[in-house]
Symmetry: D2
Subunit: 336 residues, 4 copies
C-alpha cells in the first residue's frame, strides 16, 4: 500500500485527490494537511466525504510526514508551493506538486508571468513535467513531478502528434479554450458569484494567461523547435471540464483519414487519451481522467478539439496517474 | 413625468429598478445614490446598462433629493433603511422602502427576528404594506410604502382568496418555497459560489426565516384572525424566481372547480395575478411582474402553487406598481 | 467474480450500472442487452464509455444469459419488465428489477396507478423490496429484488426511524420533493428541452404520482400500520439528485437532541445513510450511493430532510448494493 | 400605429417578436399565424404571455393579412419562407424575413449550403440585408428585408471597422463562437435534452455551418474585397447569447488605443453597438438588443470579441430595429 499525504487538502484539487485515493486499491490516505485556519475534520470541510473519510486535516509537521507517507500530493498555490517542496523532498518522500512553481524551466519566464522571484531554482532541474503521455520515461525516475496545468494538458494533448511529426506551422497556433468554473478555485469572488456567472460566458486573461508559456514549453519540447501559441481562455457556466479548440496551419496537404491515423498511432496505447471520429463533448469526460481528442480539417486549417475534466485529468487524476507511474503500478489504478 | 430617485442603487434590486424606470413612459430617473464606496457610473456598476444609462451613482444629499425627485425607491438593507427613511420623508417626497423595517407592525416581532432595536417606530403607522392586490386602497393614500418581501408576496397571493373567505384551517398552513440565487443578493459567499451552488439545491433558515412573521401578518390581516404558517425556504440553481407550494386543510369540502372559480373571482380584475388551470413554471414569470397561481386539491388537502420573479414582483416591479398606484397612473405602466 | 448482465442497458440507469460494475472489484459485466433498435457498441451509446468499455449491447437471448450471468440488472420500464422477468428467473439467475412491476404488493393499487393489467402476479410474492437499510434480511434470501423508486428511497429513509418507533401521526405526512431532470429518463420532450427546463422549476403529477402508493406501502410496513402520505414532486434545473422535505406531526413532544439520537441509533451502522446535524445539500451526494438525512423541529412540526442521487441510491447504486447483499459481499463494494 | 403580423408565431423568435411588439409604443400586433397544427391561443403556446396577450394564433390568410397589417415579421424556417414571401409581398405589405432564403446573394452558394433549390430568385435582388449598422440606407428603401443570422450579426459587427478600413488580412480570419441553446430552436432533440446539454459544451458543424458563407458575404461587402472566414460554432449550457472571439492578422502595426479609437469612431452614433474597454460578458446583453464589442491585441494578433442575445439582436430585436428603420421611427423604439 502506498501511503499518500495530501498537502493543502482543503481546496477543490485536495478534495478530488482524496476521493480518488479512497477508491485506489493500492494506495491509502495517511495524512491530510492544510493551513492552520483551514484545519478541521475532512467531512466538515467537504460534506461529500461524510461517512467516507473520518480523517482530520491537520497542520503540516515534516517529521510526521516523513514517517507516515511515501508520496505527497502538494495541492498548494504557486509561490506557497516552492516554500514547502524543498522541505518535503528532504524528508525523502516523492512529491507531486500541483502548482506552477516547478513547471516552467525558464526562470525568467516564470518570474515574468507569476510576478514573484523563484526561490527554489535548485530543485527545478529535478522536476519531471507530469504529462505521462508525453514524458512518461522521465516521470518514472523522478522524485519531484510538476503536475501540469489544466489548460496545457488539454491543449498539448490535442496537437502533440502533429508537433512530434513536424506537420504544422509552429508559429501560428491558436488555442481557444472554455473552462468550467471550478478551475477558478474555491474562493468566492464577484465574477464567480452564481447570479453573475450563471447564464454567462466570458473571455479573460487576454494575451496574458500564465498557462500560455507552459503550453509553449511543452509544445516546443515535443516539436523539437520553438513553438509560439496564442492562447485565449474563456469561462463558461458549468462546473467541470475544458474544451479546447486548436487552430493550426498544416505544412503540407493531409487528408482527414491520414490525420485520424496519425492520432490513432500516436495514442493507440494510451489508456486515457481517446481519439474520436466526431466532435467531443465536455460532459463525456466529466468526473474522469480521460482526454478525448478529435482532429479534423476545415477550409485548409487543421482544427484539433480536446476535452478533459480540469480537476481530474487537469489536476488530481493526472497526479494519481503520475503516482502510479512513479510506483510502477498499473497506470489506471484508482482512475478507471 | 414622475421623477424617481433610487437610494441604494448599487445592488440587484437597484439595477432592476433602474431598468424598469428606463422603460416607464411616465417616469424618469433623476438621482441614483449609494454608499460613497459604491459610487461610480451606473454602467460601470452594471455592464448591462452600457449605452442605456449614463447617469452616475452618487452619495445621497437630502437637499438634492428634495429638489430632484418626487419619489424615492429605497433599496437599502434592513436597519440601514430606518436610519434614512425619516429623513427622506421629511423632504416631502414619497418613499417606497424595500427593507423589512416598515413591514412588521409588531415591533417586538421585528426586534426578535431582525435582532436590532427599531429606531423609527414613529413612522411605522404611516407605512402602507405594498401588496396592491390586497391593500391597494391604503397604498393610494400613503407617503410611505413598505414594499413586501419576495416570499410573502408569492405565498400570500397563493392563498389570499381562501383566507379572505375563511375556507381553510388557519393553524396548519405550510409554505414550502424554492428561490433562485439572486434572492441572496450581490455579495459573494461560499454557498453561492458557482461551483458550490450549481447543480445543488438546499434548505435553509429552518423555522427561523424572517419572512415567516411577515407572511403571518399579511395572512392574518386578510383572514381577519390570527394565522400560523410554517414556512420552509430552499435555494435552487437558477437566477430568478420563487416557486411556492402551499399546503392547506380545507374547512369544508370543495371541488377543484369551485376553487378555480373562487380564485378567478378574486383575481379577475388584477392585471398581474393570473390564475392558471394547471401547474405553473417559474420560467414563465421570469423578468416579469406577473404572479401565476394554481390552486388544486390532492388527497383532501388544498395545494396552492404560485410563481413570481423574486426581483420583480418580489421587489422592484412591485415597487413600481406601488408607485403607479400612488401617482394614480395605470398600474401596469413600465411593467407590461 | 460475479457475472453481471444488464438488461435494458441503453438508458440512464443502464449507463450508471455499467459504470459502477466497471469499478466493482468482485463483479464483471458479461452481457449487455437492449431492444434490437438500440443495440450498438456501448461506447457509441454512451460517449463517456470510450476506452472504458468495449462491449456491444446486443439483443437478449435467454440461453446466452443463463450461461453467462449470475445476476441480471433489469433496467426496463414498467410493464415491459414483467414480460421479461419470469423468463429471466427461469434461467436460474438472480434478478434485480428496476421497474415498478414488483414493488407494489397490492395488485389493485398497481393496476390503478400504472393503468395496465399485472401479468406476472405469480412472482410478486417472491420479490423482496430492495431497500437494504429497511429490508436487508429479506433481500439476502431473494432471487428477485424489486429495486425501489427514487422518490420512495429518499422519502422513506427520511422518516423511517420515526415510523418504526410510532412517534408521528401516520395520517398527516407531507413529502415535498424536488428532483433533477435525469429522473425523467433519456427521451427528449418539450418540458425537458434545455431552453424550457433551464432556469425553471415546476411541480407535476399533483396528487397522482406513482411513487405515492409505493411510499405508503414501505412506510406502512415500517410503521406496522396504514400510513397516508401526500407526496408532491417538482423538477428543478439540475442533472442529479432528489431533495425531500418531509413534514410530520409528532405524537408527543420531543427535543431536537432526542430526534438526532433516535436517527443516529437507527442508522448508526448503515454505511450509506449519514445523519447530519444541519441542512443537507443535494450536491454532496451527487454521483454517490449516500443518503444524507437531517431531522429537526420547527414550530411544532418535525421536518425531515433527505438527499440522494436519484440515479445511484435511487436506482443503479442501490441495485448494486442489493447485489452485494444477495451475494454476501461487503455492501459497499463498487460504491465507495 | 404600425400594424404588425407575425407569420410563424409559434417558435422562439415568434415569441420574442410578440413580446417586443407588446412593449412598442408605435406598433401593435394585429395578426399571429402559424401552421394549422400549431394554432391555439398565444398564451397557451407560451405560458409567459398569460394576461399579456389574448390573441389567437391562426392559419395564414393572405387577404386578412393585407387588410390588417402594414408589415409581416416572417419567422419561418428557410425553404418554407421562400414559398410564402412572394405572396406576402404581393399583398403590398413590408416583409422582414427571418430565414436564410433572401440573405445569400449568390444562389449557387445558397443551394450548396441549404441543399435545396431556390424557388424565388426573382425577389432576391429586392431584399436588403437587415444589419442596420452596416446597411441602414438600403433598409430604409426596402419592402423586403432579409434579417441576418445570429452568428453573422455578432461576428461581422466585431470586425466591421477593421474590414472597412482595410486593416486586416482578409484571408486568415477565424471566428470562434459559442451560442446558447435557444439558438437551436424549440424542437426537442437528444443533444438539447437537459441532462445531455446541461454541464456540457461542444463544437458542431465543423467547416460546414450555413452562417459561414453569410458572414463572408457581409464581410466582403464591407471590405470591398473577397473575404475568407473560418467559422467554428460551439453550443454551451445557457439559454441565450452568443460570444464570438474573432482572430485576425493586422496588415500593419496598430496600438490598442488606435484600435479603440477606430471602433469608437465607427460605432459612436450607433445606439445598439457599445464599444467596451475590457472583456464583454454574454449576460450583460441577455434579453436586450445590444451588441458589446471589444477589440484588442495579443501576441501580434487582433482579437475582437462580441456578445449579443441570439434571439434579440440576433433575430427578433434586429427585426424590430429594421421595422423602425423602414417606417422612419426612432430606431430604439420598443427595444430600450
Amino acid at each position: 500500500m502506498i501511503r499518500v499525504a495530501i498537502i493543502g487538502a482543503s481546496g477543490y484539487t485536495g478534495l478530488e485527490s482524496i476521493e480518488i485515493v479512497l477508491r485506489h486499491p493500492e494506495a491509502q490516505l495517511t495524512y491530510l494537511t492544510a493551513l492552520p485556519e483551514e484545519c478541521c475534520r475532512a467531512d466538515e470541510a467537504f460534506g461529500s466525504l461524510k461517512g467516507r473519510c473520518s480523517m482530520t486535516i491537520e497542520p503540516l509537521h515534516l517529521d510526521k510526514l516523513s514517517r507516515q507517507a511515501d508520496v505527497a500530493l502538494c495541492c498548494l498555490p504557486h509561490k506557497v508551493s516552492m516554500s514547502f517542496v524543498p522541505k518535503l523532498l528532504e524528508t525523502g518522500i516523492k512529491v507531486i506538486d500541483f502548482s506552477a512553481d516547478y513547471r516552467l524551466k525558464d526562470v525568467t519566464v516564470y518570474e515574468e508571468y507569476y510576478q514573484v522571484e523563484h526561490t527554489d531554482t535548485g530543485n527545478l532541474p529535478r522536476a519531471a513535467f507530469g504529462l505521462p503521455e508525453l514524458f512518461r520515461d522521465r516521470i518514472k525516475e523522478a522524485s519531484l513531478v510538476a503536475n501540469p496545468g489544466c489548460y496545457p494538458t488539454g491543449a498539448t494533448l490535442a496537437i502533440a502528434p502533429l508537433l512530434r511529426k513536424g506537420l504544422i506551422d509552429t508559429q501560428t497556433i491558436i488555442v481557444n479554450s472554455v473552462t468550467g468554473v471550478s478551475g477558478g478555485g474555491k474562493n468566492p469572488s464577484p465574477v464567480f458569484h452564481f447570479p453573475n456567472m450563471n447564464e454567462n460566458i466570458l473571455p479573460y486573461a487576454i494575451g496574458s494567461h500564465r498557462h500560455m508559456p507552459e503550453m509553449e514549453q511543452i509544445a516546443s519540447e515535443v516539436a523539437g523547435e520553438k513553438v509560439k501559441i496564442l492562447f485565449q481562455p474563456h469561462v463558461g457556466p458549468f462546473d467541470r471540464g475544458i474544451l479546447s479548440t486548436v487552430y493550426c496551419d498544416p505544412k503540407t496537404e493531409m487528408s482527414v483519414e491520414e490525420l485520424g491515423e496519425l492520432y490513432n498511432d500516436f495514442y493507440g496505447n494510451e489508456p486515457f487519451v481517446q481519439v474520436l471520429d466526431g466532435p467531443p463533448a465536455v460532459k463525456n469526460v466529466a468526473k474522469s481522467n480521460y482526454c478525448h481528442v478529435y482532429p479534423t480539417i476545415a477550409r485548409g486549417k487543421i482544427i484539433c478539439f480536446s476535452v478533459i475534466d480540469n480537476l481530474i485529468k487537469g489536476a488530481s487524476g493526472q497526479a494519481i496517474q503520475n503516482m502510479n507511474v512513479i510506483f510502477a503500478l498499473d497506470e489506471t489504478l484508482g482512475l478507471a
